[in-house]
Structures are given as C-alpha cells and as structure tokens.
C-alpha cells in the first residue's frame, strides 16, 4: 500500500508541476480513523496529501461532472468499480477523454465503515494501515485494530467484478487479489426478492421507501446521474408542484416514485459502484433495486455491467432500425 501511495503522490506531483492537469482528485486522510475524505490537489505540494487504502470507498468519478463545462484537464483516482463510471461518462460524452487523466489503483477491498466504527476507540488517530493478507490492520495511536477481510469488507467487495481499473492512464501499483468471495453470487439476493410474492415484495419496499428522508444523497453520489437538471428538481412554482413528479412531499407514494423512476433512469448506466447504498443515511438497500435492473438487462439484452469498456453500447442507448419495438 505504501508503494502505491508513493507512486500516486509522485505521479500527481509530476502532473501538477508540469501543468499537465490543473487538479488531481483523490483521497486524503479523514477526520476519524475509519475514513478518508475526497481531496482536490491543485499544487505539487498538495499531492503529498493524497493517500490510498481500504478506507477509500467514495467514487470520485462523480466530481468530474462539476468540471465538465470548464476547459481544464483533470486527473482522478479510481478503483476497479469506480473506473466503470469513467467509461460510462466518456460514452455519454459527459467528459472529454483528452481532458482526463485516469490514475488507477489496485483495490483489495474496502472496509465497511459501519462495521468497523464500533471497534475503533473514540478519538483514535490513524497512523498506518497494514495488509497481512488475511487481515487489514488499522494502526492507531490507541492500538492496533485487526479486521479480518472475510468479515469487515463492504458487501459489494465480496461480489467484486473488477478490482483492477478497466481504464487507466497510470497504474499506481501491481495487481492485487480480488476481494470477491465464493458464495456471494452476483444475483443471489435479487433472485430471492424475485421469488417473493407480490404482496411480500410490496410490503418490503413500502417499508424501505417510507423510511426515506428524501435527502437525495443517493442521486447526488451516483455517477450515472449526470443530468444538469434532474427530473425531480424541475423549476416549477409551488402551486403547480402536484403536476410534476417528485415534489418535496415526503410520503410513501412520492418516495416510491422517486426511487422507482431513478431505478429506470439508471438502467444501462448504473455501474454497480454501490455509492447510493453507502451514502444512504437510513440504510435503504438501494443496490438491490439496481442489481435487479442489471440482471434484467443481462437476461433481456445480454448486457454486461455497464462501463466495462467504452465499446459496448448500453442497451437502452442503442438505436437499431430492426428494433422489434416499432415506435423506436
């Protein structure tokens, strides 16, 4: 991990010093021992703030959208899962390739913040992270905290498809073993959900959606959501709000509409990075919805996880004159 961090800092400093990029978007130490924070380095000196390790869950690719209408060149640090989002944005012409430097990092899995937090003594400061192969060890000023990889990684990591970036201009380290585990079939939970009868499915999701705060963190963290004006944020006067979808009313019908429309909108774009579920403050299992869509796209169109390459076209973005659906 140290080598990767050194390589990353060196490359970031080189890019910034040579004015090849205006900014490097990466990770820096967070304010507690169980997290990092997005870092936007604009000088070679700031490149020394960059870090990398199993506390870097955030998908930074979303931030590219903040700079899509500028003319500056940027670099962004990506893990395997995040890198699919790079391909998707490139495919949707949301960011030009020539203005982008992709700094890839080999990922052996990310620790699940919720699981490790209760094990960390309050106020502990992170000094180092060691990878023993079996365990990830957080070395803090209040002791060494060992987290077995088979229990403390994020759920998505056990189902990892690509732990090495699918697109990168620079790779900060040698390939590492994938955190994927046997028994974590990609669609197992979706299959289970499909097997429920309609009433049970309905009550499951009614319960989840009624807990939603409508904070929109899932949408805002989502790299598939690239619309400049979201359908849920149309500029409509208050007295006309009942005529649009997605007012600010928090109710089961409105919340369900929000999540189900989002599900349809990200079909063929969701790269399964899991950010929606990670950021949700009330723990709605959003990936279950999106993995259902991924599964359907796989069965109906033979489509793989979006963003694996820029060559494959998303099934709902493709035009074919012989499409069996006449209105297309």
């Amino acid at each position: 991990m140290k080598t990767v961090v050194d390589n990353l800092r060196r490359e970031a400093a080189r890019l910034l010093a040579g004015d090849e990029v205006k900014m490097v978007i990466g990770y820096a130490a967070g304010t507690d021992a169980a997290r990092t924070t997005p870092c936007f380095a604009t000088t070679p000196e700031q490149a020394a703030l960059l870090t990398w390790g199993p506390l870097c869950a955030n998908n930074l690719v979303k931030y590219l959208l903040d700079y899509r209408f500028e003319d500056t060149r940027l670099a962004v640090v990506v893990k395997g899962c995040d890198s699919r989002a790079v391909n998707r944005l490139l495919q949707d012409l949301q960011f030009p390739r020539q203005r982008l430097v992709v700094l890839g990092v080999p990922c052996g899995g990310q620790l699940d913040r919720a699981s490790i937090l209760s094990e960390i003594p309050p106020g502990a400061r992170l000094q180092d992270i060691e990878d023993t192969g079996e365990d990830l060890v957080l070395v803090t000023d209040k002791g060494r905290l060992s987290f077995p990889k088979d229990r403390f990684l994020m759920d998505k990591c056990y189902r990892c498809e690509t732990n090495m970036p699918v697109v990168a201009d620079f790779l900060a380290g040698e390939p590492v073993p994938s955190p994927a585990r046997e028994g974590f079939e990609h669609t197992a939970e979706v299959d289970g959900m499909e097997a429920l009868d309609i009433a049970d499915k309905s009550s499951f999701w009614d319960n989840e959606f009624s807990r939603c705060l409508r904070c929109t963190a899932c949408r805002n963290a989502c790299p598939a959501c690239s619309c400049k004006e979201c359908v849920f944020e149309q500029a409509v006067p208050g007295w006309q709000q009942s005529g649009i979808i997605g007012s600010k009313v928090n109710s089961l019908p409105e919340n369900a509409v929000f999540h189900l429309i989002r599900m349809f909108h990200v079909t063929g774009r969701c790269v399964d990075c899991g950010e929606c579920e990670r950021v949700c403050p009330v723990g709605i299992p959003l990936r279950l919805l999106y993995r259902k869509v991924l599964k359907d796209a796989r069965i109906l169109y033979g489509a793989g996880t979006p963003g694996m390459s820029t060559e494959t076209v998303s099934p709902l973005s493709e035009f074919r004159p012989d499409d069996p659906e006449e209105f297309m």
């Binding site: 924070t37 106020g123 963190a217 944020e233 009942s242 009313v249």
Partner: protein, 342 residues
C-alpha cells in the same frame, strides 16, 4: 415542588397512561436500527438504550411534510378548511443537545411573525429530557457550553439513577404532569439521585474526544465571506440534504400545493440550502448558483447568522452531520480551519 424519582416500571406505566390522552413521541427504532422520534402506542415501542436519535426531535415540531390547510373550489366558491389544532403531546427522550436545539428554533417561529403551526405544537407539548448515558465520538456539545446532563429547555429532566430515574421538575408544565400522575413518582432516593446525576456529569465530561475552541470564530468567519476557503471546501460537497435534514436546528422549508380537481391542500415541506434549486429565482437567476455559495451559507448560518439574529448558537454540537456526511465534511474541522486560515 421538589424533585422526585421514578422507577423504570413506573416510567413505563406513566408513558402508557400518557398515550391515552396525548400523542406520545419518543425515540423508536426501525427494522434497520435507525432511531428517530416517532409516535408510540405503548412504552414498549421505545428504543430504550438508544444513544442518539439519528433524525432529531425537530420532526415533531416541524414535520417533514405538514398540511397547512385544505381548500375546495367546487361550486365556484372557495372554501378553506383549516387543519384542526394538534392534540396535546408529550415528547420523551431529548438529550441536552436536542433540548438546546428546540430552544434555538423557538425564536425563529416565535419572532415578529408568529408561526401558529409550530407554536401550537410547542405550547401543547410537554418535553421530557433525558441525560446522556455516554458520549459518542462525534459529540462536541460541551464546546457549546452544554453538559450531557443539562436539563435546560425541558419541562422534566430524567437521569438514570440506580434502577430508576432521578426527575428534575423544571417548569410549571412539568409540575402539572407530575401532579396529574403523582402516585407514580416518589420522594424516596432523591438525594441519591442528585448524587448519581452529579457523578454521571463528571464521568461524561471526561469522555469527550472532540473539543473545539469557539473563541473568536464568529468574528473571524464574519470577515471571510469572500475567502477562497469556501471554494476549496465546497469541492467535495455532493449537495445532498443529509446535514440539513439531520441537523436539529436547520429549519428551512418550502410551501407547495397538492391538488386534484377542485380540492387540494397546501403543504409545508422541509427544504435544504444545500439543494441547487433552493434559491432559484423565477427569472432563472440563482444568487447561490454554485456549491461554494451554498456551503458557505450553511456554515455562516451555523457559526454566525443564527447567533446574530437570535443571540443563540446555530449549532449545538450534536455531531449528526459529522457522523453522516458521506464525504467527511466535518464542522469541527471547519471551525479549526477558520481559526487557521489567513
């Protein structure tokens, strides 16, 4: 009236009895362990043993979606039907930070403009506070001069003591509640209760890991409106509503209408200054057009504007925004940064 004690069982009996004539609001846990203030039907519904409700108590006084009135225009005439006044309520389980937060909301809704929706609920609600049992890693209320056993703002303040609670009677409302349910309370063990509370206060004071120095922060931040710091800070913000919706003192709302045919109602819904359309004008001009202006506004509101308008801090150090921000925007770091930057 002098302070009392109440056993655990009697407290449960009290809450069960209060449910008969009041809405009783208390920390409840959902199937995923998320604790928020919700209406209970019996004391057993309460998430006893909760550390901090993730969604604060403001949701009772300022619900996320609240009907203001209904109207009907059928027959060519406008009929307005006001919502009935709220039922009397008892809200149980506010920790000192949440008590302080309600105090910070009061002048917003009880200023030159009297907000009847808030005030009706406020006047008809008895607040039963509860001392904290532990200090969380994100707690920093003490930096705001709040002790985790402070009862200020509550009508009754409960502190766990032995196998029951030490009960402080702080207002006439609290006194009336005790008088109405006198047999459930006891005078025995009051001195021990007081000692247990003092001991707890001392113990909790030593548990704080997060401390900030607020000296001079308001004066400094008031000179920083044009400082490049906000641009740097805002880069990482996702513009979601987590911090504002979970903040016990954030109170912005939007008023919308929901109608179908000739009938409809006017609703007040939580809104967030972090949302891009929060200040969007009809002309399409947006005075807070980028994340920089929005993030700056939020922190100036917390660290300066609220104080300026009401003489009360806009942050109570509950730490919810720190715990839940998905990109680790941490107000204690910001306070430290404000002191540092040139």
């Amino acid at each position: 009236m002098s302070n009392k004690t109440i056993t655990r069982d009697q407290l449960a009996t009290l809450l069960d009895r209060l449910v008969e004539k009041n809405r009783v609001i208390a920390p409840v846990s959902d199937n995923r362990g998320v604790v928020r203030f919700g209406e209970i039907q019996k004391a057993g519904d309460i998430a006893w043993g909760f550390d901090q409700a993730k969604v604060p108590a403001k949701s009772h006084f300022l619900p996320q979606t609240e009907e203001l009135y209904r109207y009907d225009t059928s027959g060519g005439e406008l009929k307005i039907e006001p919502v009935p006044p709220p039922r009397p309520a008892v809200i149980f389980g506010l920790h000192p930070c949440d008590l302080k937060a309600v105090a910070a909301l009061d002048p917003v809704f009880d200023g030159a403009f009297k907000d009847v929706y808030y005030l009706n609920k406020r006047e008809r609600t008895v607040i039963i506070g509860l001392s904290c049992r532990k200090v969380l890693p994100t707690c920093f209320c003490r930096s705001y001069g709040i002790e985790p056993t402070d009862g200020q703002g509550a009508d009754l303040m409960l502190t766990e003591a032995g196998d029951g609670y030490y009960v402080e009677i702080l207002t006439p409302k609290g006194e009336a509640l005790i008088r109405d349910n006198a047999p459930l309370f006891s005078d025995a063990g009051v001195a021990e209760g007081r000692r247990a509370k003092d001991a707890l206060a001392g113990e909790l004071a030593g548990q704080f890991q997060l401390n900030v120095d607020l000296t001079g922060v308001k004066a400094k931040v008031d000179t920083m409106f044009e400082h490049p710091y906000w641009q740097e800070l805002a880069r990482k913000c996702l513009g979601c509503g987590i911090c504002t919706y979970l903040c016990p003192t954030c109170h912005c709302f939007d008023i919308i209408e929901s109608h179908s045919g000739h009938r409809g109602c006017r609703l007040r819904c939580w809104d967030s200054c972090m949302f891009a359309d929060f200040t969007l004008h009809t002309s399409s001009h947006n005075p807070r057009s980028t994340k920089k202006e929005r993030v700056r506004n939020r922190f100036l509101h917390k660290l300066s504007y609220h104080d300026e308008r009401y003489g009360l801090a806009g942050c109570v150090g509950c730490g919810r925004c720190i715990a839940e921000c998905p990109v680790n925007i941490d107000i204690t770091q910001i306070i430290a940064d404000i002191e540092e930057v040139d």
